[in-house]
């Protein structure tokens, strides 16, 4: 079995794999066809990215001799093999998985080991869940435990503003990046080699709002928490917590309940209603906008939570969903502004700080890297924890592009 077979078995192309490693297509083709042996440094990155063991990349002869030459693609690629997924989806996930490997390596270089706080948190949460309870109850119990561990919903305030920092501080890789022309709205899977796996949550930001993404993030976290052995979960457009749609899949019901109860538990909903004098049965568009703005949760989910808690009936669900609150929301919170409006508000200089500095460049599918990750890489360069060439690898850009994007830092650490 050649490397080509492993890659094609995962539904990927050779060029996509070459790009994600930053090597020429010609060189990679020689490796793929076993004309040249792939150097171990590249083999280990590719193995972690594809989700196979590094030995599978290099010990071809030995594997064949032992009669165990068949290398199955990692679970995530089975998930992405359906007709509804396209090349763009698989290639984007490949880049995300490379980022997962890079995040582990960055932490090893700067902290000595990858951050595995998430593992303890997950254990603490799942310990409290009765796996024989209904999926909805499982999600709710897990959400309560999560909120207690992460101080979510404290002080009668929504937690959407802090959720990204909280998850990342636990070592969970969270990536929000646009993939136009993709059906994927969000997905979760584990990345990194087997000794340093971590959950990765990916959200497609293309034509979505911050409020919807918050729900998707927590829904995917629910999957990461409960569905660790499934090899990953993918949610396509109009699939995540969509309106009051009835979901039949256990995993989806559980992830939905988890997302709703972490972002807008009943206690928080009632507290917000009290704070702002809102009566659920007589809400105006203004009232609904306040609940959305204060909780950081999209309109559909807010209405769903009101309904789930028997605060409104079917008729009001339809009425509230018909409210157009976009204009009111824009006046209430910056998160509802369009990019152009936001830039106008904060000023061009502030807006340009990160402009064109976070996209990867080595692969066909460019990924928008999280600000904290890019910042961590740049800090590591400043303190000589990683070199510029290594930083370029970690940011998945050419070294020359590093000098173009970050000239001040490059000058600071150059001879």
């Amino acid at each position: 079995m050649s490397l080509r077979t492993v890659i094609e078995g995962a539904g990927l192309g050779l060029n996509a794999c070459a790009d994600v490693l930053g090597v020429s297509h010609e060189v990679f083709q020689q490796w793929a066809d076993s004309q040249k042996e792939i150097p171990p440094a590249y083999a280990s990155i590719l193995a972690a990215t594809l989700g196979v063991k590094p030995e599978a990349m290099t010990s071809r002869v030995l594997m064949s001799a032992r009669g165990s030459a068949r290398i199955e693609p990692a679970a995530i690629w089975f998930k992405f093999s359906g007709d509804q997924f396209q090349e763009v989806d698989r290639e984007s996930i490949l880049t995300v998985r490379r980022l997962g490997h890079n995040a582990n390596q960055l932490e090893q270089a700067t902290l000595g080991q990858p951050n595995k706080s998430w593992e303890i948190m997950f254990q603490n949460i799942t310990r409290q869940v009765d796996l024989q309870a209904s999926p909805r109850d499982q999600g709710k119990v897990a959400a309560k435990a999560f909120c207690e561990l992460n101080q979510f919903g404290h002080g009668g305030k929504g937690s959407s503003e802090i959720l990204r920092d909280r998850l990342r501080s636990q070592g969970i890789l969270l990536i929000e990046s646009p993939i136009p022309n993709s059906q994927v709205e969000g997905c979760s899977f584990y990345v990194g080699d087997s000794s340093a796996q971590r959950p990765c949550i990916f959200v497609n930001t293309y034509k979505t709002t911050w409020f919807r993404r918050n729900v998707i993030i927590m829904h995917e976290l629910g999957h990461a928490l409960f569905d660790q052995t499934s090899g990953g979960e993918i949610d396509v457009l109009a699939d995540v917590s969509d309106s009051v749609m009835v979901k039949s899949s256990l995993t989806e019901v559980r992830a939905d309940a988890f997302a709703r109860d972490t972002l807008l538990p009943q206690k928080l909903l009632l507290s917000l209603c009290n704070q702002f004098g809102i009566k659920p049965t007589t809400m105006t568009p203004q009232d609904l906008a306040v609940l959305v703005a204060e909780s950081g949760v999209e309109k559909k989910t807010v209405v769903q939570v009101l309904f789930d808690n028997a605060l409104i009936d079917d008729a009001l669900v339809g009425q509230y969903l018909s409210y157009d609150i976009a204009a009111i929301l824009r006046q209430t919170t910056d998160h509802a502004l369009t990019t152009a409006e936001y830039i106008e508000k904060i000023g061009k200089d502030a807006a340009l700080v990160w402009e064109n500095k976070r996209f990867t460049s080595i692969a066909k599918r460019n990924l928008l890297l999280p600000v904290p990750y890019v910042t961590a890489v740049l800090d590591a360069v400043r303190t000589f924890s990683v070199s510029i060439s290594r930083a370029a690898e970690l940011l998945m850009i050419d070294e020359s592009l590093f000098f173009e994007r970050f000239p001040a830092i490059a000058q600071e650490v150059s001879e």
Binding site: A41, F384, S387, I388, A392, E415
Partner: protein, 229 residues
């Protein structure tokens, strides 16, 4: 005349690309014929050069030719067997790659494996990446006994009269045109003036080939045949 042991120089991508861009592949043959220095590159560096988006296609034919003519070689197990006879412990490619993977957490793949080879084989490496060296130093990683820059080799060739003034200015001009890195002393001066100010780390000695203490200290080469120049 005593038969001097072979001295390996391990080349990193950035330095090798500059040599190839400047068309100075003759350096490799001069080093081996006159000084017993064999030039090597790691497989990882070969990959980096061929994958370099800016210069890969430009330098690939020259690299192929140099490799085919064995002016420079991919470091192989047979080379290590030969070199290991001079070392107290035998060094394998796996040893180098293991250390390379460790260094590779902190610096780029090419330089990680280049310096790992230099450390284990106790031989000079040729790399322009001061930032990577400083990073490895900061992380407490061992460095090769000497790290040369491509301009140490260009300067050596000039100072030892292998290349003339006109050709040397051409090297400088070509690398400036390509927007390549060069030592500060050469950025705004002629090659002849700048190279003397730079402090060339490669020189000749009537005694044995050796390096002084510290990776940036000069490395001295002894001519295989003292009458050769």
């Amino acid at each position: 005349m005593d038969s001097a042991p072979e001295i390996p120089f391990i080349f990193d991508s950035d330095a090798l690309i500059q040599i190839l861009l400047a068309g100075q592949q003759q350096i490799f043959s001069i080093l081996i014929s006159d000084f017993g220095v064999r030039s090597f590159l790691m497989n990882e560096v070969d990959t980096e050069i061929r994958s370099n988006r800016k210069f890969g296609s430009l330098v690939k034919p020259k690299l192929d030719k140099a490799l085919k003519g064995q002016a420079i070689k991919l470091l192989a197990a047979a080379d290590l067997d030969r070199m290991s006879s001079e070392l107290s412990n035998a060094i394998s490619l796996s040893d180098i790659r293991e250390l390379g993977m460790d260094y590779g957490l902190d610096v780029g793949i090419g330089e990680a494996h280049t310096h790992a080879a230099g450390v284990l084989l106790n031989c000079p490496t040729v790399s322009n990446d001061w930032n990577a060296i400083r990073t490895l130093q900061t992380k407490g990683k061992e460095l090769p006994p000497t790290v040369l820059r491509s301009f140490d080799l260009f300067g050596f060739m000039f100072l030892e009269n292998y290349v003339g003034s006109h050709e040397s200015e051409g090297i400088l001009k070509e690398l400036k045109t390509q927007g390549e890195w060069m030592p500060p002393s050469l950025r705004n001066s002629s090659f002849e003036v700048g190279i003397r100010e730079m402090g060339c780390r490669l020189s000749t000695s009537l005694g044995v080939s050796a390096s002084a203490a510290g990776w940036s200290a000069p490395f001295f080469l002894k001519r295989v045949d003292p009458k050769s120049r």
